[in-house]
């Protein structure tokens, strides 16, 4: 599902965020990505969502080598990944329904389909019936759940989340994490970058620890997964 082979990322300002990251996440897994601030967690997520391309090494996501994917194919690539942000990035001037519907409208779904799927996604995050409210009328925890509904509405096989509980109190954080677990149980591959070490240990799920640009405790090269043929 996600495969990094000795990936380095140097930004235009010269900062090397990753020096040699190798990791592998198989379909159906739920994995935590931890590490101090500045260890490169966000960079790993950006490389997965193709917000950035690797400077060296290979990043393969959903069978696509992101370093070689032509620009015109980037939108279709992004549609197969759900992204959840720490600050949820909702459009505050639009109702919940419009926010959640955005990925479907972008993918040209029919209007009937959009209504059905938006309600299903809101049901999953426990916000059914709040379609017409504005995000400003919701609590912080609810806003984060709207962000999650938007990430899962088009049923992507892969969900990545950057500090999704960063702004939440422990109770709300626990709710969000158990929501991720439920999604994982129905087959969504999930990668969560988090500080919340307590929850990670408690969950018993796999943890990838980043330490100043490399994966702590393992630097061996991993076997290459099958690649999608490019048309």
């Amino acid at each position: 599902m996600i495969y990094f082979d000795r990936v380095a990322k140097r930004y235009a300002n010269g900062r090397e965020a990753l020096s040699a990251v190798s990791l592998r996440i198989t379909p159906g897994e739920m994995v935590f990505l931890t590490g101090r601030s500045g260890a490169g967690k966000s960079t790993v997520l950006k490389l997965i969502a193709l917000l950035e391309r690797p400077t060296r090494g290979q990043v393969i996501v959903n069978g696509e080598n992101t370093g070689k994917l032509p620009n015109r194919k980037v939108p279709a690539f992004r549609r197969r990944i759900g992204v959840v942000f720490q600050d949820h990035r909702l459009l505050m001037d639009r109702p919940v329904f419009d926010n959640v519907a955005l990925p479907l409208l972008v993918a040209d779904a029919s209007l009937r389909e959009v209504g059905k799927r938006v309600r299903a996604a809101l049901d999953q995050v426990g916000l059914l019936g709040k379609e017409q409210l504005r995000p400003t009328e919701l609590s912080v925890g609810e806003q984060q759940r709207v962000g999650i509904a938007r990430a899962i509405v088009s049923r992507p096989p892969l969900l990545i989340a950057d500090e999704p509980t960063g702004n939440l109190d422990p109770v709300l954080a626990g709710e969000v994490m158990s929501l991720f677990k439920r999604l994982n149980e129905v087959g969504v591959t999930i990668l969560v970058a988090t500080h919340d070490v307590h929850f990670v240990r408690e969950s018993g799920l796999r943890e990838i620890v980043l330490e100043s640009g490399v994966v702590a405790g393992s630097e061996e090269s991993l076997p290459l997964p099958p690649l999608q043929a490019h048309r």
Binding site: A49, P75, V83, L102, D162
Partner: protein, 310 residues
Amino acid sequence: MIGALGRWVGRHAHAAVSSAGRLARQPFGTILSVLVMGLTIALPLGLNLLVQNMRSATGNFSGAIGISVYLHQDVTDDKAEQLAANARARSGVARVQLITATAALEQFRKESGFGAALQALGSNPLPGVLSITPTPEGASPAAVEGLRRYLAAWPEVDSVQLDGEWVARFSAILEVLRRVLLLAAVLFGAGVVAVVGNTIRLEIQNRRPEIEVTKLVGGSNALVRRPFLYTGALYGLVSALTAWLVIAIALQLLQPPVAQLAQAYGSHFRLAGPTLQEVGIVLGAGTFLGWLGALLAASHHLAGIEPGAL
């Protein structure tokens, strides 16, 4: 196939409707931009109508253009008759009125009150005159000048005088105005493109978060650009409509005094408005220019917006 077409129409309709809704939700800014562009379009349109109306007005004055041909004093009345016939045969000549030396003297004697003084002169001091009116086609400055030269070359002709030469000069001025108008139309058209482009640029800046999120969830550049193109086209269309509205009001205000002026000159001249075709062309051109401005701005600014920060 039908489904794909339906979805295509659907998403364009959605973009168009949401663009219109967006404009309607910020009426003040929209009205200001539309006014700027509407007046920008109205200026060359108004100038165009002015020129057209002046042309048709002076067209009515083509009867005022005349050529007086003064014959040498030794030309006999019979010879003068023959010359008048020659002049009538020339193309571009509507009417030739001959005032023979004898008739002129008779008229002068009757009307001037100097009859006794003339008697004392013994011989007739007045020349024969051909008063020539050109046809409307023959009334252009070039045609009139050609006719003047032709007549001046006759040995019996003493001098040729153009009457109503101002009309010819005036239509030459109108021709200059028409050129100025073409230039103005091009410049003001570029102005509309620039205003729409700038408006769309600001709009893109305002909606940057939305654009970033849309790109993040997999929106293509075409999809992100589409509502802005509709906004631009809509701006152009509404501005062109505003321009015609301004022109219509101006025509209503000018009609009574113009009618009065025309009446004072014994004319039934009325200001002519634009034809339906002209209205249609301007609406189409406005829409196109708006779309073009939006396309330029969107292509330039949207490329720079990528959902960088996570």
